[in-house]
Amino acid sequence: MQTTLLRTPLHDRHVALGAKLVPFVGWEMPVQYGGVIAEHRAVRADAGVFDVSHMGELEVEGPRARELLQQTLANDLDKIGVGQAQYTLLTNEQGGILDDLIVYALEPTRYLLIVNASNADSDYAWLKERELRGSEVSNRSSEYGLLAVQGPRAIERLGLPQASAFTWAMGEIDGVEVMVNRTGYTGEDGCELMTMAEDVVALWDAVLARGVVPCGLAARDTLRLEACFPLHGNDITPETDAISAGLGWVCALDKEFTGADRLRAVKEQGPRRRLVAFVMEEKAIPRQGMSVVEGGDVTSGSLSPMLDVGIGLAYVDSALAQPDTPITIDVRGRERRARVVRKPIYRREETA
């Protein structure tokens, strides 16, 4: 079967930069330009830019928009007002995680949801089916381009004013009007710039001209793994729940939302397994799908470019979830020692 991969408006730019392009959830995306490790370190030391235009943008509008989202999303929207954003989960009746996303309060009656590319259509369908009279859900994914500019010097290089994490404001970068979202997926300071799809090439060029390093999805993955941000489809899925995943802080269990009763039950009984971070104690790189010998499964694994050791996330029996617990990873038939660590695995030293 021949399938056509979708391309972002920046495809020609990626090709011109010599990017290695790979299929990713139906999109042809740059996995790396120069090299994963250099790109990763550029984000930790200075600033890097990722084309994340494949991500989905849904809007929910109307006098009952907030009510619809309070019923379907796990976090409490009453904690944020216009100009703010919130990390949250779309959950099913079993308390499983359909997606993780960031919701932005645009107006008292209008919200933007930036969702994973792989789930954009199913999230849209899920919300559309549950629309209330007075709340309209629309899929705006093809209308927008999105660039994540991340790193300790990202804001300075873009000439943007300082702002708190999880806020947004309209802004302008070298003549391109952008929504500046103070969010990200790397554990560094920075922003995600949303603009109209037809303006994203001009925005990309402007960001690169400011000395920001183009980075691919491979570096995005190693950065988020060091920061211990879960990846939907790997670490969190419709079959895993937020409590076991360590995302209880995102779940407002004092309100009603889809699957809330199941999550309360998991919390009360204590989860059987927990998603933990671990670091290899021997030379080996853990990978998704490997087993934890004492009981568990690796859901993400890689080499940490900052620590130069194998790192990962795994669901383990709750008895093994304490930091410093020794565990063993089955690396293609070879047993390799690892240790459970506190999240995040890597945090940049604060410089005075």
Binding site: K20, V36, K283, R287, S302, P305, R332
Partner: protein, 130 residues
């Protein structure tokens, strides 16, 4: 620094992107420029034990980049005399110098006649062009 694409004429090649430098009853083995380029920066080499027997066309080790793992296929059968510790410690050596300092193992050939079944550089380049 990554090396420039090259395939030395004095080496023998296996279609799974491995090379052999045969010297009498011994050979040094490694992966080709094409293999290291396809993988990207190498971050791990899982070597065989010294003294282990390796078999032509079978995996004798693994090389890993940040994103991928690949078996290393033996172009010839033999006994592992030496593992390149430099590559174990600094796997990126393979990217920098795949035919020199980035060699993987040295073996004693158990069947030197197997060499006749390997590809010369032109035949290997033809495989790459397929």
């Amino acid at each position: 620094m990554a090396a420039e694409e090259s395939y030395p004429a004095e080496l023998k090649y296996h279609r799974e992107h491995d090379w052999a430098r045969i010297d009498g009853s011994e050979a040094v083995l490694g992966i080709t420029w094409y293999a290291q380029d396809a993988l990207g920066e190498l971050v791990h080499f899982e070597p065989p034990e010294e003294g282990a027997a390796i078999r032509r066309d079978a995996s004798y080790g693994e090389v890993e980049s940040v994103k991928a793992v690949s078996d290393v296929i033996a172009p010839l059968s033999g006994e592992v005399l030496e593992v390149n510790r430099k590559v174990v410690e600094e796997p990126e050596t393979v990217n920098e110098d795949p035919y020199g300092e980035g060699w993987l193992v040295r073996i004693r050939l158990s069947d030197p006649a197997e060499a006749d079944g390997l590809l010369d550089v032109d035949a290997y380049r033809a495989v790459l062009a397929e």
